[in-house]
Symmetry: C2
Subunit: 212 residues, 2 copies
């Protein structure tokens, strides 16, 4: 398809598509003349992912390029590409203040992972960005004087495990390896706002049940 059709089918303005091409967020089209190029379904798929990253995830262009590089990195096996791509997504702040709350949070997270039997996460430990973000989030809660121990985190972790099963089931609807990795990244980003809204709606429903 031509650039105009790629724009129509994706709903992304041609000027924006040209910008993504210049920034190497999209692979170049197949040249058919000095002034025209052809684009295919892979371009359309990639364009949707770029929109998800930038529009919903509000990810800077340079970071989006890293995420896309991890998706296409054929030196890694499927699981590691999936992990590297999702982990390259920026995600909250990681403040390591090295205080008592930080140390307590580290112990709490390690005890939680052990209790859950999440052995892969225990092995990767602080190499994984979400591990560091979790420690930082727990440290902040402790620092502000609110309770946050293994018992309190367990139900959230168990819900997260169920969510991950739904997430990976969605991913497995896609057959090709690279498409699966792309879908995993897109669903991680796109379902976050939906999940947080659903949590607030569910809180209203539960609050009405208890106190209404």
């Amino acid at each position: 398809m031509k650039l105009a059709e790629l724009s129509d089918r994706s709903g992304v303005a041609t000027a924006t598509i040209k910008y993504y091409l210049r920034e190497r967020l999209l692979p170049p089209g197949h040249r058919i003349s000095a002034t025209q190029a052809e684009y295919d379904e892979e371009h359309l798929r990639r364009l949707r992912l770029v929109r998800a990253l930038i529009q919903v995830g509000r990810i800077p262009v340079a970071t989006a390029r890293e995420v896309l590089a991890a998706i296409g990195d054929e030196t890694r096996d499927h699981h590691m590409r999936l992990g590297a791509a999702v982990w390259a997504l920026p995600h909250g702040r990681q403040t390591d203040e090295g205080d008592a709350a930080g140390a307590a949070a580290g112990h709490t997270v390690d005890a939680l992972l052990q209790r859950l039997g999440w052995d892969f996460c225990r092995e990767t430990g602080s190499e994984a960005p979400p591990y560091r973000t979790l420690v930082s989030a727990v440290a902040t809660i402790i620092r502000l004087g609110y309770p946050c121990d293994v018992e309190q985190l367990l139900p959230y972790a168990r819900s997260a495990a169920e969510l991950a099963v739904s997430d990976l089931d969605l991913v497995e609807r896609y057959t090709a390896g690279e498409e699966q990795v792309e879908a995993a990244v897109a669903f991680t980003v796109l379902y976050e706002p939906a999940l947080l809204s659903l949590r607030r709606l569910a809180q209203a429903e539960e609050s009405n049940r208890r106190f209404g």
Copy 2:
């Protein structure tokens, strides 16, 4: 306690506390002389909440003031104060583009709420900010060409319902009415980054199980 002790116990600098007092995010202390005021446990509790809203929730001062006003609004019953306070929290973008994806998203969310039997949320409908954010999140997913129907959203909604039970159990550890509303707001904000990190860790664990 004096201002210095309030600062020590909360870990918040005295200059920052004075700023919050000027901005009416904290009630004034009890004057004991022309230059000194006394603060109590309620000030400490309120200060922790203000930190949670501003530092973790990154909520503008004016919005934080609205959330705090809703917490203290004694003209509403307990459930409505809780709802109003949580709903005053800013939460994602709500873009209503009035296109086919927006209409499809509205139908999907209504069908989802009916399927779940979330009657309180069905009644309040689009008056509730999280309802509008959810419709907007679903519309974005559809607009980008990814699947998002009732069947796909159901497992996320069911996890959200379980999370809400944990959330409200935490809230009910606090006995006083106003303390419960404060805790609900704080936990909503503070557990969001923890939940999203746990989801990514759980994805890594589940991915390793399936593809590792």
